[in-house]
Symmetry: C2
Subunit: 217 residues, 2 copies
Amino acid sequence: MVQVAQLGKGADMSDNQQKSSNVVWHQSQVTTAMRENLNGHRGAVLWFTGLSGAGKSTLANAVEDRLYAMKARTFVIDGDNVRHGLCADLSFSDDDRVENIRRVGEVAGLFVQAGVLTLTAFISPFRADREKVRSIVGENFIEVHCDTALEVCESRDVKGLYKKARAGEIAEFTGISSPYEAPENPEIRVDTGSDDLSVCVDQVIAYLLKKSVIQHV
Amino acid sequence: MVQVAQLGKGADMSDNQQKSSNVVWHQSQVTTAMRENLNGHRGAVLWFTGLSGAGKSTLANAVEDRLYAMKARTFVIDGDNVRHGLCADLSFSDDDRVENIRRVGEVAGLFVQAGVLTLTAFISPFRADREKVRSIVGENFIEVHCDTALEVCESRDVKGLYKKARAGEIAEFTGISSPYEAPENPEIRVDTGSDDLSVCVDQVIAYLLKKSVIQHV
Protein backbone atom coordinates (compact mmCIF):
# COMPACT_ATOMS: atom_id res chain seq x y z
CA MET A 1 0.00 0.00 0.00
CA VAL A 2 1.71 3.15 -1.20
CA GLN A 3 0.19 6.47 -0.36
CA VAL A 4 1.61 9.98 -0.28
CA ALA A 5 1.01 11.60 3.11
CA GLN A 6 -0.11 15.16 3.58
CA LEU A 7 2.77 17.59 3.50
CA GLY A 8 3.86 18.86 6.88
CA LYS A 9 4.31 22.49 7.80
CA GLY A 10 7.19 23.89 9.83
CA ALA A 11 10.76 22.95 10.50
CA ASP A 12 9.97 20.14 12.92
CA MET A 13 7.55 18.45 10.56
CA SER A 14 8.08 15.00 9.21
CA ASP A 15 9.63 14.21 5.88
CA ASN A 16 7.11 13.00 3.38
CA GLN A 17 9.14 12.23 0.32
CA GLN A 18 12.76 11.36 -0.23
CA LYS A 19 14.65 11.94 -3.43
CA SER A 20 18.27 11.79 -4.40
CA SER A 21 20.08 10.85 -7.55
CA ASN A 22 20.25 7.17 -6.66
CA VAL A 23 17.58 6.52 -4.02
CA VAL A 24 13.83 6.95 -4.38
CA TRP A 25 11.77 6.24 -1.27
CA HIS A 26 8.03 5.77 -1.52
CA GLN A 27 5.80 6.85 1.31
CA SER A 28 3.58 4.12 2.70
CA GLN A 29 1.05 4.45 5.43
CA VAL A 30 -0.92 2.12 7.63
CA THR A 31 -4.39 3.63 8.03
CA THR A 32 -6.84 3.59 10.92
CA ALA A 33 -9.16 1.40 8.86
CA MET A 34 -6.35 -1.13 8.38
CA ARG A 35 -5.67 -1.19 12.12
CA GLU A 36 -9.37 -1.60 12.91
CA ASN A 37 -9.50 -4.46 10.45
CA LEU A 38 -6.60 -6.14 12.26
CA ASN A 39 -8.23 -5.55 15.65
CA GLY A 40 -11.71 -6.66 14.66
CA HIS A 41 -13.31 -3.58 16.21
CA ARG A 42 -13.42 0.15 15.72
CA GLY A 43 -11.39 2.75 17.56
CA ALA A 44 -13.50 4.96 19.84
CA VAL A 45 -13.38 6.97 23.04
CA LEU A 46 -15.61 6.11 25.97
CA TRP A 47 -15.54 9.37 27.90
CA PHE A 48 -16.65 8.68 31.50
CA THR A 49 -17.74 11.88 33.25
CA GLY A 50 -19.26 12.42 36.67
CA LEU A 51 -18.67 13.64 40.20
CA SER A 52 -15.71 12.59 42.29
CA GLY A 53 -16.67 9.21 43.74
CA ALA A 54 -19.27 8.48 41.06
CA GLY A 55 -17.33 5.43 39.92
CA LYS A 56 -15.84 6.63 36.63
CA SER A 57 -12.45 4.97 36.92
CA THR A 58 -13.79 1.78 38.46
CA LEU A 59 -16.37 1.42 35.72
CA ALA A 60 -13.85 2.28 32.99
CA ASN A 61 -11.51 -0.42 34.27
CA ALA A 62 -14.32 -2.95 34.57
CA VAL A 63 -15.45 -2.23 31.01
CA GLU A 64 -11.86 -2.58 29.84
CA ASP A 65 -11.64 -5.92 31.63
CA ARG A 66 -14.71 -7.16 29.76
CA LEU A 67 -13.42 -5.82 26.45
CA TYR A 68 -10.06 -7.53 27.04
CA ALA A 69 -11.88 -10.81 27.48
CA MET A 70 -13.34 -10.14 24.02
CA LYS A 71 -9.76 -9.61 22.74
CA ALA A 72 -10.31 -5.92 22.08
CA ARG A 73 -7.39 -3.48 22.11
CA THR A 74 -8.04 -1.03 24.92
CA PHE A 75 -6.43 1.65 27.07
CA VAL A 76 -7.59 3.65 30.08
CA ILE A 77 -6.47 7.26 30.42
CA ASP A 78 -7.08 8.79 33.81
CA GLY A 79 -5.53 11.24 36.21
CA ASP A 80 -3.05 8.68 37.44
CA ASN A 81 -1.28 8.36 34.13
CA VAL A 82 -1.43 11.96 32.93
CA ARG A 83 -1.18 14.21 35.97
CA HIS A 84 2.28 12.82 36.78
CA GLY A 85 3.35 12.75 33.14
CA LEU A 86 1.90 14.56 30.14
CA CYS A 87 0.17 17.14 32.32
CA ALA A 88 2.70 17.32 35.16
CA ASP A 89 3.31 20.97 34.24
CA LEU A 90 -0.33 21.90 34.89
CA SER A 91 -1.87 23.13 38.13
CA PHE A 92 -5.50 22.88 39.19
CA SER A 93 -6.31 26.45 38.13
CA ASP A 94 -9.31 26.93 35.83
CA ASP A 95 -7.11 27.48 32.78
CA ASP A 96 -4.94 24.49 33.54
CA ARG A 97 -7.94 22.21 34.08
CA VAL A 98 -9.23 23.23 30.66
CA GLU A 99 -5.79 22.51 29.17
CA ASN A 100 -5.63 19.18 31.02
CA ILE A 101 -8.88 18.02 29.43
CA ARG A 102 -7.84 19.38 26.03
CA ARG A 103 -4.61 17.37 26.08
CA VAL A 104 -6.41 14.24 27.22
CA GLY A 105 -8.85 14.74 24.34
CA GLU A 106 -6.01 15.11 21.85
CA VAL A 107 -4.26 12.00 23.16
CA ALA A 108 -7.54 10.07 23.10
CA GLY A 109 -7.89 11.17 19.47
CA LEU A 110 -4.46 9.71 18.68
CA PHE A 111 -5.42 6.43 20.34
CA VAL A 112 -8.57 6.32 18.20
CA GLN A 113 -6.41 6.83 15.10
CA ALA A 114 -4.40 3.88 16.37
CA GLY A 115 -7.61 1.82 16.39
CA VAL A 116 -7.72 1.51 20.18
CA LEU A 117 -10.88 1.46 22.29
CA THR A 118 -9.93 4.24 24.66
CA LEU A 119 -11.57 4.80 28.03
CA THR A 120 -11.06 8.06 29.91
CA ALA A 121 -12.03 8.81 33.50
CA PHE A 122 -12.09 12.50 34.39
CA ILE A 123 -14.65 14.52 36.30
CA SER A 124 -14.64 16.93 33.31
CA PRO A 125 -17.42 19.02 34.88
CA PHE A 126 -17.85 21.56 32.10
CA ARG A 127 -19.96 20.92 29.01
CA ALA A 128 -17.82 23.18 26.85
CA ASP A 129 -14.69 21.14 27.62
CA ARG A 130 -16.40 17.86 26.83
CA GLU A 131 -17.82 19.28 23.60
CA LYS A 132 -14.31 20.40 22.65
CA VAL A 133 -13.12 16.82 23.04
CA ARG A 134 -16.08 15.63 20.98
CA SER A 135 -15.01 17.99 18.20
CA ILE A 136 -11.43 16.66 18.39
CA VAL A 137 -12.38 12.98 18.37
CA GLY A 138 -15.36 13.24 16.00
CA GLU A 139 -18.05 10.61 15.57
CA ASN A 140 -16.14 8.11 17.67
CA PHE A 141 -16.71 10.07 20.87
CA ILE A 142 -19.05 8.28 23.29
CA GLU A 143 -20.00 10.27 26.36
CA VAL A 144 -20.81 8.11 29.39
CA HIS A 145 -22.45 9.94 32.26
CA CYS A 146 -21.71 8.17 35.55
CA ASP A 147 -24.79 9.46 37.28
CA THR A 148 -24.54 9.26 41.05
CA ALA A 149 -26.23 11.77 43.33
CA LEU A 150 -23.93 14.13 45.17
CA GLU A 151 -25.09 12.85 48.55
CA VAL A 152 -24.16 9.29 47.58
CA CYS A 153 -20.71 10.35 46.35
CA GLU A 154 -20.24 12.37 49.51
CA SER A 155 -21.33 9.51 51.72
CA ARG A 156 -18.81 7.21 50.00
CA ASP A 157 -16.03 9.85 50.18
CA VAL A 158 -13.40 7.18 49.55
CA LYS A 159 -10.53 9.65 49.47
CA GLY A 160 -11.88 12.01 52.10
CA LEU A 161 -11.98 14.79 49.53
CA TYR A 162 -15.57 15.84 50.20
CA LYS A 163 -14.79 16.24 53.88
CA LYS A 164 -11.84 18.47 53.01
CA ALA A 165 -13.91 20.41 50.48
CA ARG A 166 -16.65 21.02 53.07
CA ALA A 167 -13.96 22.20 55.48
CA GLY A 168 -12.79 24.66 52.85
CA GLU A 169 -9.46 22.92 52.43
CA ILE A 170 -9.97 22.30 48.69
CA ALA A 171 -11.03 25.22 46.54
CA GLU A 172 -13.31 24.86 43.53
CA PHE A 173 -14.35 21.31 44.38
CA THR A 174 -16.88 19.96 41.90
CA GLY A 175 -20.34 19.57 43.42
CA ILE A 176 -19.43 21.58 46.51
CA SER A 177 -17.88 24.86 45.47
CA SER A 178 -17.82 24.46 41.71
CA PRO A 179 -20.64 23.29 39.43
CA TYR A 180 -20.96 19.94 37.67
CA GLU A 181 -22.70 20.46 34.35
CA ALA A 182 -24.38 17.12 33.70
CA PRO A 183 -24.47 15.95 30.07
CA GLU A 184 -27.81 16.73 28.43
CA ASN A 185 -27.70 14.03 25.79
CA PRO A 186 -24.93 11.60 26.66
CA GLU A 187 -24.62 8.53 24.45
CA ILE A 188 -24.85 6.45 27.64
CA ARG A 189 -26.15 7.26 31.10
CA VAL A 190 -25.32 4.72 33.79
CA ASP A 191 -26.82 4.72 37.25
CA THR A 192 -23.58 4.34 39.16
CA GLY A 193 -25.39 5.33 42.31
CA SER A 194 -27.46 2.21 42.79
CA ASP A 195 -26.83 -0.31 40.00
CA ASP A 196 -24.33 -3.11 40.43
CA LEU A 197 -21.06 -2.68 38.58
CA SER A 198 -21.85 -5.61 36.26
CA VAL A 199 -25.16 -4.01 35.26
CA CYS A 200 -23.37 -0.80 34.29
CA VAL A 201 -20.72 -2.75 32.37
CA ASP A 202 -23.44 -4.69 30.52
CA GLN A 203 -25.08 -1.43 29.54
CA VAL A 204 -21.86 -0.02 28.04
CA ILE A 205 -21.03 -3.25 26.22
CA ALA A 206 -24.58 -3.45 24.82
CA TYR A 207 -24.21 0.06 23.43
CA LEU A 208 -20.91 -0.78 21.74
CA LEU A 209 -22.44 -3.89 20.18
CA LYS A 210 -25.53 -2.02 19.03
CA LYS A 211 -23.40 0.64 17.35
CA SER A 212 -21.13 -2.01 15.80
CA VAL A 213 -18.07 -0.57 17.53
CA ILE A 214 -17.36 -4.12 18.65
CA GLN A 215 -18.70 -7.45 17.40
CA HIS A 216 -19.88 -10.53 19.25
CA VAL A 217 -17.03 -13.01 19.62
CA MET B 1 -8.01 -10.37 37.48
CA VAL B 2 -8.60 -8.06 40.40
CA GLN B 3 -5.93 -5.61 41.36
CA VAL B 4 -6.05 -2.40 43.36
CA ALA B 5 -4.62 0.50 41.40
CA GLN B 6 -2.31 3.10 42.87
CA LEU B 7 -4.21 5.82 44.64
CA GLY B 8 -4.47 9.08 42.75
CA LYS B 9 -3.61 12.48 44.17
CA GLY B 10 -5.60 15.65 43.60
CA ALA B 11 -9.21 16.51 42.96
CA ASP B 12 -9.19 15.50 39.29
CA MET B 13 -7.78 12.10 40.05
CA SER B 14 -9.59 8.93 39.27
CA ASP B 15 -11.67 6.97 41.72
CA ASN B 16 -10.00 3.78 42.70
CA GLN B 17 -12.48 2.17 45.03
CA GLN B 18 -16.20 2.47 45.45
CA LYS B 19 -18.04 1.68 48.60
CA SER B 20 -21.52 2.35 49.82
CA SER B 21 -23.83 0.50 52.15
CA ASN B 22 -25.23 -1.70 49.40
CA VAL B 23 -22.76 -1.62 46.53
CA VAL B 24 -19.15 -2.76 46.59
CA TRP B 25 -17.19 -2.28 43.40
CA HIS B 26 -13.88 -4.06 42.92
CA GLN B 27 -11.12 -2.46 40.95
CA SER B 28 -9.83 -4.53 38.06
CA GLN B 29 -7.08 -3.60 35.71
CA VAL B 30 -5.81 -4.83 32.38
CA THR B 31 -2.01 -4.65 32.54
CA THR B 32 0.57 -3.91 29.87
CA ALA B 33 1.76 -7.52 30.09
CA MET B 34 -1.78 -8.73 29.37
CA ARG B 35 -2.03 -6.45 26.34
CA GLU B 36 1.36 -7.58 25.07
CA ASN B 37 0.23 -11.15 25.46
CA LEU B 38 -2.85 -10.41 23.35
CA ASN B 39 -0.76 -8.63 20.72
CA GLY B 40 2.01 -11.22 20.52
CA HIS B 41 4.72 -8.57 20.81
CA ARG B 42 6.07 -6.07 23.31
CA GLY B 43 5.26 -2.38 23.46
CA ALA B 44 8.23 -0.16 22.60
CA VAL B 45 9.17 3.18 21.10
CA LEU B 46 11.27 3.40 17.97
CA TRP B 47 12.53 6.97 18.21
CA PHE B 48 13.73 8.07 14.76
CA THR B 49 16.04 11.08 14.99
CA GLY B 50 18.01 12.90 12.30
CA LEU B 51 18.28 15.99 10.15
CA SER B 52 15.39 17.39 8.16
CA GLY B 53 15.29 15.33 4.97
CA ALA B 54 17.15 12.37 6.48
CA GLY B 55 14.17 10.09 5.92
CA LYS B 56 12.82 9.67 9.46
CA SER B 57 9.11 9.74 8.66
CA THR B 58 9.45 7.74 5.46
CA LEU B 59 11.44 5.05 7.25
CA ALA B 60 9.08 5.04 10.24
CA ASN B 61 6.11 4.52 7.93
CA ALA B 62 7.90 1.82 5.97
CA VAL B 63 8.81 -0.02 9.18
CA GLU B 64 5.21 0.30 10.33
CA ASP B 65 4.05 -1.14 7.02
CA ARG B 66 6.29 -4.17 7.54
CA LEU B 67 5.16 -4.58 11.14
CA TYR B 68 1.52 -4.38 10.08
CA ALA B 69 2.14 -7.24 7.68
CA MET B 70 3.36 -9.16 10.74
CA LYS B 71 0.06 -8.27 12.47
CA ALA B 72 1.77 -6.02 15.02
CA ARG B 73 -0.12 -3.17 16.69
CA THR B 74 1.64 0.03 15.67
CA PHE B 75 1.29 3.80 15.58
CA VAL B 76 3.39 6.59 14.09
CA ILE B 77 3.61 9.89 15.95
CA ASP B 78 5.10 12.74 13.95
CA GLY B 79 4.77 16.47 13.50
CA ASP B 80 1.70 16.08 11.32
CA ASN B 81 -0.42 14.58 14.05
CA VAL B 82 0.82 16.56 17.04
CA ARG B 83 1.70 20.05 15.83
CA HIS B 84 -1.91 20.64 14.78
CA GLY B 85 -3.35 18.92 17.84
CA LEU B 86 -1.71 18.11 21.16
CA CYS B 87 1.05 20.68 20.63
CA ALA B 88 -0.93 23.28 18.66
CA ASP B 89 -0.35 25.73 21.51
CA LEU B 90 3.43 25.53 21.11
CA SER B 91 5.65 27.75 18.97
CA PHE B 92 9.07 26.91 17.55
CA SER B 93 10.94 28.73 20.33
CA ASP B 94 13.64 26.77 22.16
CA ASP B 95 11.45 26.24 25.22
CA ASP B 96 8.47 25.15 23.18
CA ARG B 97 10.55 22.71 21.14
CA VAL B 98 11.72 21.13 24.38
CA GLU B 99 8.11 20.94 25.57
CA ASN B 100 7.01 19.51 22.21
CA ILE B 101 9.47 16.63 22.52
CA ARG B 102 8.60 16.11 26.19
CA ARG B 103 4.89 15.74 25.38
CA VAL B 104 5.61 13.39 22.51
CA GLY B 105 7.76 11.33 24.87
CA GLU B 106 4.95 11.18 27.45
CA VAL B 107 2.40 10.16 24.82
CA ALA B 108 4.79 7.55 23.43
CA GLY B 109 5.08 6.24 27.00
CA LEU B 110 1.29 5.87 27.20
CA PHE B 111 1.26 3.99 23.90
CA VAL B 112 3.93 1.64 25.25
CA GLN B 113 1.75 1.02 28.31
CA ALA B 114 -1.01 0.19 25.84
CA GLY B 115 1.28 -2.44 24.31
CA VAL B 116 1.69 -0.60 21.02
CA LEU B 117 4.86 -0.54 18.91
CA THR B 118 5.17 3.22 18.63
CA LEU B 119 7.27 4.95 15.99
CA THR B 120 8.14 8.64 16.31
CA ALA B 121 9.69 10.87 13.68
CA PHE B 122 11.12 14.13 15.00
CA ILE B 123 14.41 15.85 14.28
CA SER B 124 14.89 16.00 18.09
CA PRO B 125 18.37 17.49 17.67
CA PHE B 126 19.34 17.71 21.34
CA ARG B 127 20.75 14.78 23.27
CA ALA B 128 19.27 16.01 26.56
CA ASP B 129 15.75 15.99 25.12
CA ARG B 130 16.14 12.48 23.75
CA GLU B 131 17.59 11.25 27.04
CA LYS B 132 14.60 12.77 28.84
CA VAL B 133 12.30 10.71 26.64
CA ARG B 134 14.44 7.64 27.34
CA SER B 135 13.95 8.24 31.06
CA ILE B 136 10.17 8.57 30.56
CA VAL B 137 9.79 5.45 28.42
CA GLY B 138 12.37 3.29 30.16
CA GLU B 139 13.95 0.15 28.77
CA ASN B 140 11.53 0.09 25.86
CA PHE B 141 13.10 3.16 24.25
CA ILE B 142 14.93 2.36 21.02
CA GLU B 143 16.83 5.26 19.50
CA VAL B 144 17.18 5.04 15.71
CA HIS B 145 19.65 7.47 14.20
CA CYS B 146 18.73 8.23 10.60
CA ASP B 147 22.24 9.10 9.53
CA THR B 148 22.34 11.14 6.36
CA ALA B 149 25.07 13.72 5.69
CA LEU B 150 23.92 17.32 5.77
CA GLU B 151 24.96 17.84 2.14
CA VAL B 152 22.74 14.94 1.04
CA CYS B 153 19.75 16.26 3.02
CA GLU B 154 20.38 19.71 1.61
CA SER B 155 20.65 18.42 -1.96
CA ARG B 156 17.32 16.61 -1.54
CA ASP B 157 15.66 19.64 0.07
CA VAL B 158 12.21 18.20 -0.63
CA LYS B 159 10.38 21.02 1.12
CA GLY B 160 12.78 23.80 0.13
CA LEU B 161 13.52 24.41 3.81
CA TYR B 162 17.32 24.33 3.48
CA LYS B 163 17.15 26.97 0.76
CA LYS B 164 15.06 29.17 3.03
CA ALA B 165 17.37 28.51 5.97
CA ARG B 166 20.44 29.47 3.89
CA ALA B 167 18.61 32.63 2.86
CA GLY B 168 18.08 33.41 6.54
CA GLU B 169 14.31 33.04 6.27
CA ILE B 170 14.15 30.28 8.92
CA ALA B 171 15.89 30.91 12.22
CA GLU B 172 17.53 28.14 14.25
CA PHE B 173 17.37 25.60 11.45
CA THR B 174 18.97 22.32 12.47
CA GLY B 175 22.24 21.68 10.63
CA ILE B 176 22.46 25.25 9.30
CA SER B 177 22.02 27.67 12.17
CA SER B 178 21.38 25.28 15.06
CA PRO B 179 23.36 22.14 15.95
CA TYR B 180 22.32 18.53 15.50
CA GLU B 181 23.74 16.48 18.34
CA ALA B 182 24.08 13.02 16.82
CA PRO B 183 23.36 10.07 19.14
CA GLU B 184 26.56 8.61 20.57
CA ASN B 185 25.23 5.12 21.24
CA PRO B 186 21.91 4.73 19.46
CA GLU B 187 20.34 1.29 19.60
CA ILE B 188 20.19 1.40 15.79
CA ARG B 189 22.06 3.51 13.26
CA VAL B 190 20.71 3.39 9.71
CA ASP B 191 22.49 4.82 6.70
CA THR B 192 19.55 6.72 5.28
CA GLY B 193 21.94 8.61 3.03
CA SER B 194 22.85 5.79 0.67
CA ASP B 195 21.08 2.56 1.62
CA ASP B 196 17.82 1.54 -0.05
CA LEU B 197 14.73 1.95 2.09
CA SER B 198 14.19 -1.81 2.27
CA VAL B 199 17.71 -2.32 3.63
CA CYS B 200 17.05 0.18 6.42
CA VAL B 201 13.69 -1.45 7.19
CA ASP B 202 15.36 -4.89 7.33
CA GLN B 203 17.89 -3.53 9.79
CA VAL B 204 15.22 -2.20 12.16
CA ILE B 205 13.14 -5.38 11.94
CA ALA B 206 16.23 -7.53 12.59
CA TYR B 207 16.94 -5.53 15.75
CA LEU B 208 13.37 -5.98 17.02
CA LEU B 209 13.56 -9.72 16.39
CA LYS B 210 16.97 -10.02 18.05
CA LYS B 211 15.70 -8.21 21.15
CA SER B 212 12.50 -10.29 21.15
CA VAL B 213 10.33 -7.20 20.90
CA ILE B 214 8.59 -9.01 18.06
CA GLN B 215 8.56 -12.68 17.08
CA HIS B 216 8.83 -14.38 13.72
CA VAL B 217 5.37 -15.08 12.32
